[in-house]
Chain length 193, copies 2
């Protein structure tokens, strides 16, 4: 009897970072060993293989982002202020130029999903959950009277998600802070007006 020594969450967050920085295909087991501190054998024991580690990392990413999301929308402020803060924070993330600040879901969606139906399904499900959470936020805004009512919240949530995808991609071309902020502001405006 002996328990595993490593901290699963820490290992998965390190793996997440490694995958985001180099992409899945280019991240070698050596890279993962360096990032996580786990020797190959341990990784295989705990996660089956490299793909298993990706799946586990995707799940951890979903959990982490879910917690982060709740933190943004759980305080008592008006919903639209919360949404504004959420978008402003996104802009700051994009500006950090830190490749580990990218979105693992969209990154993996671009790189591996087309080749791996199961990964694609998992990512699509995770993004759908996120969109559903955005929709709840917009529904709450509508009931609070902050949103022009009568508009389809599900559609608006999808449009918001689309805008955020686009903003992240746009940020990869290294625009100025004001440019990026202006795009986020207009997105906010188009959702609310």
């Amino acid at each position: 009897m002996r328990n595993a020594e490593f901290d699963r969450e820490k290992v998965l967050r390190s793996a997440m970072t490694a995958f985001m920085e180099k992409g899945y295909a280019k991240t070698s087991m050596q890279d993962l060993k360096a990032a996580t501190g786990l020797h190959p054998g341990s990784i295989y024991c705990a996660f089956d293989n490299k793909r298993g580690l990706l799946l586990a990392a995707l799940e951890q990413y979903r959990l982490d982002r879910s917690v982060e999301f709740e933190a943004f929308f759980a305080d008592g402020r008006p919903v639209l202020s919360q949404l504004k803060s959420y978008l402003d924070d996104l802009v700051q993330q994009c500006l950090s130029c830190d490749s580990s600040q990218a979105c693992l879901l969209t990154k993996a969606l671009n790189e591996v999903a087309e080749q791996d139906a199961e990964v694609q399904q998992i990512i699509a499900d995770n993004l759908a959950r996120w969109q559903a959470a955005l929709e709840q936020v917009l529904v709450r805004a509508a009931t609070q009277g902050d949103l022009t009512s009568g508009r389809d919240s599900a559609h608006l949530a999808r449009y918001l998600a689309m805008g955020i995808y686009g903003l992240r991609t746009f940020a990869h071309t290294h625009p100025g802070a004001d440019t990026l902020q202006a795009l986020a502001d207009q997105l906010y405006h188009d959702i609310c007006a």
Copy 2:
């Protein structure tokens, strides 16, 4: 004295397709040999190495897309009708579920740009050219009186580009045709209104 036998454009389009289907890292020289019909030695002779082939493919992609773009906006119709057609065609491309219909620029931007500053610069330049072309279209619409004047065309062009990036990413989660069309329609509306 002997001329090269292969058709450079055909070879580059085949390489483009291969890179878009499997991603750059996962496309092996064997894949490229199968896709282009060129033996490894010929590829190295003509393009130096795999990365050189990617650079050449990116340039060919830019040319092809530029021609396509001009075709959409060169007929005599009102500019906004042309823009609508452009977006509708984009939706159809996204719906085809054909991974070779993706955008090589954004795909490569996601996968290799973070690792390769030169590739990143080339892609950023190409995307900037495209945005400039979109801006010209919007300027033309404004002078024709079809657009609410007084808005910053450069900003609108960036917003349009952002929306298109987002639409392409969104499409990877395989939404229904109506969902995607509704998003494109709203993007069009938010640009024009």
